[in-house]
C-alpha cells in the first residue's frame, strides 16, 4: 500500500463511500469459476463442517460433514465435484511452438479457477490439502478414491495462491481491494460482507459506511468462514451436535444441520457472486492474457505430473524446495509489479507517491545524439523531462516508460529548481537495430510521460534439477504417522 492508498482511505472514511482505484483487472476471471465456500468445524484441525460450491449461482451444491465420525463420504463427494470441474478443463489443448528455453509442447486451452471469500479460506484449503493428500486411498469404497488426489489439487491451488499475479485460487476480498479502497481498516476489509457493503451498497443505503454498519449487525451478519462464529457455535451448532451424539436421533440431526448450514451460508454465497459480477465488469489489463497463458501452462504441467509421477507433494518445505519457492515468488512479484506499472495508470500513480516513479513533460529531445564508447558509433538520443514530482532517484538509475515498454532510459542528471526538477535521460534500449532504427521511441516535446524505476533484471537462481530435489519425494516424515489410530 502506498501513501496514495492511505490518502484515499482517509477520503473514503470522510465521505463514507469507497474510492475506485485500479480500473483494470490484472487477474483473469473465468467465465465459469468454481465458487467454493468451506466451513471448518471449531476444534479439530482442518476438519470440514460444510462446503457450499458450484459454478451456478442459483444452484449451489451443499456438502455437510457429520459432527463426529468419518468425514470420508463428504470428502469423497467434494473430490468428485472438484475433479469433475478440473476434468472439464483438460479436454482441449493447443500446440505451443518451442521457445528459447522450452521445447514445443501442448497446453490446455482453459484452466480451472477457484474463488473463495477471503485469505483465511486459502489457508484452510492449504491445511485441508495437507491432511488429505497423505490419506491412504481407500480401495474398498470407490466413491472415496478421489480424496488423496483432491488433497494434491488443493495443495497445488494453495501454492499457486502465494504467487502474485496467479489466478488459480483467489480470495475475493483481496481481489476487490485491488480495485477499491474503503473507509475502514484493511483488517475489516477481510470481511466480505463489510467490504461489499462499502463498495456496492444496497440502493437504499445512504452510504457505504451506513451499509457496512448495517451489514455488521450481529443478528444478520455471517462471517464468510472458514471459522463459524462463537454465537452460532454455542446457540445453534452445539445443541444439534448433542442431538447427533444421541445415536437414535442421528438422521434427523443431520437433516437439521443441513438446513441450518444452508441458511447460514446462503447470504455469503450470494455475496461471492455479487463480487464476481463487479470484478467481471472491469476491463482486463494488457498483460492479463499473458499471465493467463502462464497459468494454463502451470495447470498443464501439474496435470502431467499427476499422471507421470503422482506422488504427493512433500509434507514440509525442505531447504531446497523452500528456496525454489521463495525465488519463484520473488520473480513473480517483480514481474507482476513491472507489468502493472506498464499497464495501469493507477499503479504508476502509486509508484509516484512512493518515490519509485515521476511524471513530467518532455521539454527537449536531442534525437541525433550518438556516442562512441567502443569502436562503433551508437545512437543514444537524450531528452529532458520537467517534473513537479520529488525525484528521489539517483543518476544512473534505469527507467521504463509505459509509452514504449521495451525502451529503457538512464538518468544522466537531475537539476532541482524552485518549482520543477529537470531530469536528463539517455535512451539506452528500445531504439531497434542500427540498420532499422525505431524512431517511434523518440517522444515529442510536450509529451506527458511517467517514468518508473525499471525492474531489476531478475534471474532465477540455479537449483538442482527437479527430479533430484527432495520436493518430489513426497510422503509424511517418518516421525509423523498422521493417520494411524486416528479417532475422527
Amino acid at each position: 500500500m502506498s501513501l496514495l492508498a492511505s490518502l484515499l482511505r482517509m477520503r473514503a472514511a470522510t465521505t463514507g463511500n469507497a474510492v475506485p482505484t485500479s480500473q483494470l483487472r490484472h487477474l483473469h476471471l473465468s467465465d465459469r469459476p468454481l465458487m467454493m465456500l468451506p466451513l471448518e468445524q471449531t476444534g479439530p484441525a482442518a476438519r470440514p463442517l460444510a462446503v457450499m460450491l458450484g459454478t451456478d449461482p442459483r444452484h449451489p451444491q451443499l456438502l455437510v460433514a457429520p459432527p463426529s465420525g468419518s468425514t470420508a463420504p463428504m470428502l469423497g463427494a467434494l473430490a468428485a465435484t472438484v475433479t469433475a470441474y478440473i476434468d472439464e478443463h483438460q479436454q482441449r489443448s493447443e500446440q505451443i511452438p518451442a521457445g528459447t528455453n522450452r521445447p514445443a509442447r501442448r497446453r490446455y486451452t482453459d484452466a480451472p479457477q477457484i474463488l473463495v471469500p477471503n485469505p483465511k479460506t486459502v489457508a484452510y484449503l492449504d491445511r485441508l490439502g495437507r491432511d488429505l493428500r497423505f490419506r491412504p486411498a481407500d480401495t474398498d469404497i470407490p466413491a472415496q478414491h478421489g480424496v488423496p488426489r483432491l488433497g494434491q489439487w488443493l495443495t497445488h491451488f494453495a501454492d499457486r495462491a502465494e504467487i502474485p499475479g496467479s489466478c488459480a485460487l483467489v480470495p475475493l476480498t483481496g481481489f476487490l481491494t485491488m480495485h477499491w479502497i474503503t473507509g475502514q481498516s484493511p483488517l475489516e476489509d477481510e470481511d466480505l460482507a463489510l467490504l461489499l457493503a462499502w463498495i456496492d451498497p444496497p440502493r437504499d443505503a445512504a452510504s457505504g459506511r451506513d451499509a457496512a454498519l448495517a451489514a455488521e449487525h450481529p443478528d444478520t451478519h455471517r462471517p464468510a468462514g472458514p471459522a463459524t462464529d462463537a454465537r452460532f457455535d454455542t446457540e445453534q451448532l452445539a445443541p444439534l451436535f448433542e442431538q447427533y451424539a444421541r445415536t437414535t436421533a442421528q438422521p434427523r440431526a443431520l437433516q437439521d444441520l443441513e438446513r441450518l448450514l444452508a441458511h447460514y451460508l446462503q447470504p455469503t454465497w450470494d455475496l461471492m457472486w455479487q463480487a464476481y459480477t463487479l470484478l467481471h465488469a472491469l476491463p482486463e489489463a494488457d498483460s492479463t492474457a499473458r499471465r493467463w497463458n502462464k497459468e494454463r501452462s502451470v495447470f498443464t504441467d501439474f496435470s502431467t505430473y499427476l499422471i507421470q509421477d503422482g506422488r504427493p507433494q512433500a509434507a514440509r518445505d525442505q531447504a531446497v524446495s523452500a528456496a525454489v519457492g521463495l525465488a519463484r515468488r520473488e520473480e513473480a512479484t517483480a514481474a507482476f509489479d513491472a507489468e502493472r506499472a506498464m499497464d495501469d495508470p493507477f499503479a504508476r500513480a502509486e509508484l509516484r507517491t512512493a518515490g519509485r516513479a515521476f511524471a513530467g513533460t518532455v521539454t527537449t529531445v536531442d534525437a541525433d545524439r550518438c556516442v562512441r564508447p567502443k569502436a562503433r558509433r551508437q545512437w543514444r538520443p537524450m531528452l529532458t523531462v520537467s517534473t513537479t514530482d520529488p525525484v528521489s532517484m539517483e543518476p544512473g538509475q534505469l527507467l521504463a516508460c509505459h509509452a514504449h515498454r521495451n525502451a529503457r532510459y538512464k538518468i544522466c542528471d537531475i537539476a532541482p529548481g524552485s518549482a520543477t526538477t529537470q531530469v536528463q535521460l539517455e535512451i539506452t534500449a528500445g531504439m531497434g537495430p542500427e540498420s532499422r532504427p525505431n524512431y517511434n521511441v523518440l517522444p515529442d516535446p510536450g509529451d506527458l510521460l511517467t517514468f518508473t524505476a525499471a525492474p531489476d533484471h531478475y534471474r532465477l537462481p540455479e537449483f538442482p534439477p527437479r527430479n533430484q530435489t527432495p520436493w518430489t519425494h513426497g510422503g509424511p516424515p517418518a516421525e509423523h504417522p498422521d493417520h494411524e489410530g486416528e479417532e475422527r
Binding site: S6, R127, T234, A238, A349
Partner: protein, 379 residues
C-alpha cells in the same frame, strides 16, 4: 484495605471483581499503551458485561464447541494420573525417574466457597518442598494455583501443569487444543499461549523469590502440549519464552503507574453497572460513556481480537476520526497527525502545517496532485 484497592473498588462498583488471569495479561501485552484497558482490568471491571449493557456486539464470546474441544484434549492428556503427559515429558525433558509423582491440585478445597487461596497454599507447599528437597518431590502438579503481583494486587493464576525435574528446574506446561501441523502452529494462537506461559513463569519465580530461593530455577523454556497434525494425539514442544517473559515483566512494571492514572480521573468516576434487584444493570448509558471518556484509549483494529470493548472504542475512534481506526498503515503514514480531518485539511491547504508536520504535509499534497492527474487522465 489500602487506598489503591479502595480506589479500584470504587471504580468497579458493586460487582465482584473479574480478576486478571493469564489470558487477560496476555491481552494487555497486545496493546500495552491503552490506559483505558489498564485501568478497567486493574479494577476488575467486567468488560463483557459493560459492553453487553451498552448494547454492543461481544467480540470475545467463547464458543461452546471450542471449549468442549479444549476440555476433551486436556482430559486426554491428563487422564489416568497424567500417564500420557508423563510419557511426553519424559521424552521432552529427559525425565529419568521411573516413578513419576502426579498431584492434582484441582480437587483441593473443592468444597470451599473460595478454593483458590487453599489451592494456592497447597501448591506453594508442594513447590517449596520440591525446591528445598525436603520431601520426595512431586514431579507433576496438575492445576496448581500461583500468585502474581499485578499493579500492587495479588492475582491468582492457574497454569495447566508445573513439572519439576529432580534436582533441576521447574517447567511451566501449557496444554493447548490448537494443532501443530508439520512443526508449525497458528502464529496468533502460539503467541497467546507463550505469553500466558510467561505470566505463569513470572508467578512461579515470584513464589521462589519470596522464599529466597533463586528464581532462575524456573526455566524460561516452556512446554506446549498440542495435538499432532490432524490427529488428537498430543506432542510436547519446548518453546523459548525468554522474550515474552521480559516484555511481560516490563509491562507489569508500567502498571505500577496505576495510581497516577487513577488520580487523573474526575472524582466519583465509576463503572458500576448498578445492578437492580433481578441483577440487570440499571446504570444510564450516558453516565458510563462519560466515565469511559475520562480514560484514554489507544484503539487499533486489532483490538477486536483481544478486548471486549473493541466496538465501543471503534465507534469512538471513528467519531473522533482517529487515524489509527483505519489501520496501522494509515496511522504510520500520517505519523504526528492525530485525525483524518486534520490530515485532509493539511492536504487540501485549509490548515497550515506545524514544523514537524511539514514533510508529511508535502507528501500528502503531492499524493493529492498525483490523484488529480490520474482523474484528469494525465500522465
Amino acid at each position: 484495605m489500602n487506598p489503591l484497592d479502595a480506589q479500584l473498588d470504587a471504580l468497579r462498583g458493586s460487582r465482584p471483581p473479574v480478576p486478571h488471569n493469564a489470558r487477560t495479561l496476555a491481552a494487555l501485552t497486545a496493546n500495552p499503551g491503552c490506559d483505558r484497558r489498564a485501568l478497567l482490568d486493574a479494577a476488575g471491571v467486567d468488560k463483557d458485561a459493560l459492553a453487553t449493557h451498552l448494547g454492543l456486539p461481544r467480540p470475545l464470546r467463547s464458543s461452546r464447541l471450542a471449549l468442549d474441544h479444549a476440555a476433551a484434549f486436556e482430559h486426554r492428556v491428563t487422564v489416568h494420573g497424567g500417564a500420557e503427559l508423563v510419557r511426553l515429558l519424559r521424552k521432552t525433558l529427559g525425565l529419568t525417574i521411573p516413578e513419576v509423582g502426579y498431584d492434582d491440585v484441582n480437587s483441593v478445597g473443592s468444597d470451599s466457597p473460595s478454593p483458590l487461596p487453599l489451592r494456592h497454599a497447597h501448591t506453594r507447599s508442594r513447590i517449596l518442598s520440591a525446591a528445598k528437597g525436603t520431601s520426595a518431590p512431586r514431579t507433576l502438579l496438575d492445576h496448581p494455583v500461583l500468585r502474581l503481583t499485578v499493579a500492587g494486587h495479588q492475582v491468582y493464576l492457574e497454569p495447566d501443569v508445573v513439572a519439576f525435574q529432580h534436582h533441576g528446574t521447574f517447567h511451566i506446561v501449557e496444554i493447548k487444543p490448537f494443532a501443530v501441523i508439520d512443526g508449525q502452529a497458528d502464529s496468533a494462537k502460539l503467541t497467546a499461549a507463550v505469553t500466558q506461559a510467561a505470566a505463569h513463569v513470572l508467578a512461579l519465580q515470584e513464589l521462589l523469590a519470596d522464599e529466597d530461593l533463586p528464581p532462575e530455577r524456573v526455566s524460561d523454556s516452556v512446554i506446549l502440549v498440542n495435538p499432532l497434525n490432524f490427529s488428537n494425539r498430543p506432542i510436547a514442544t519446548l518453546v523459548n519464552a525468554r522474550q515474552k517473559i521480559k516484555s511481560l515483566s516490563r509491562l507489569l512494571g508500567r502498571l505500577r503507574r496505576l495510581p497516577e492514572l487513577l488520580d487523573r480521573l474526575p472524582p466519583g468516576t465509576t463503572f458500576d453497572l448498578a445492578a437492580g434487584p433481578d441483577n440487570t444493570p440499571t446504570r444510564p448509558h450516558g453516565e458510563l460513556t462519560d466515565a469511559l471518556a475520562a480514560t484514554r484509549p489507544l484503539y487499533t483494529p486489532g483490538c477486536r481480537q483481544h478486548c471486549d470493548l473493541a466496538f465501543y472504542c471503534r465507534s469512538e475512534a471513528r467519531n473522533r476520526g482517529t487515524t489509527g481506526a483505519l489501520g496501522t498503515k494509515v496511522r504510520d503514514d500520517t505519523a504526528g497527525i492525530d485525525t483524518t480531518a486534520t490530515a485532509l485539511a493539511l492536504t487540501d491547504g485549509h490548515l497550515h502545517p506545524s514544523r514537524d508536520q511539514a514533510d508529511i504535509t508535502q507528501a500528502l499534497r503531492h499524493a493529492h496532485r498525483v490523484h488529480a492527474d490520474l482523474l484528469a487522465g494525465l500522465a
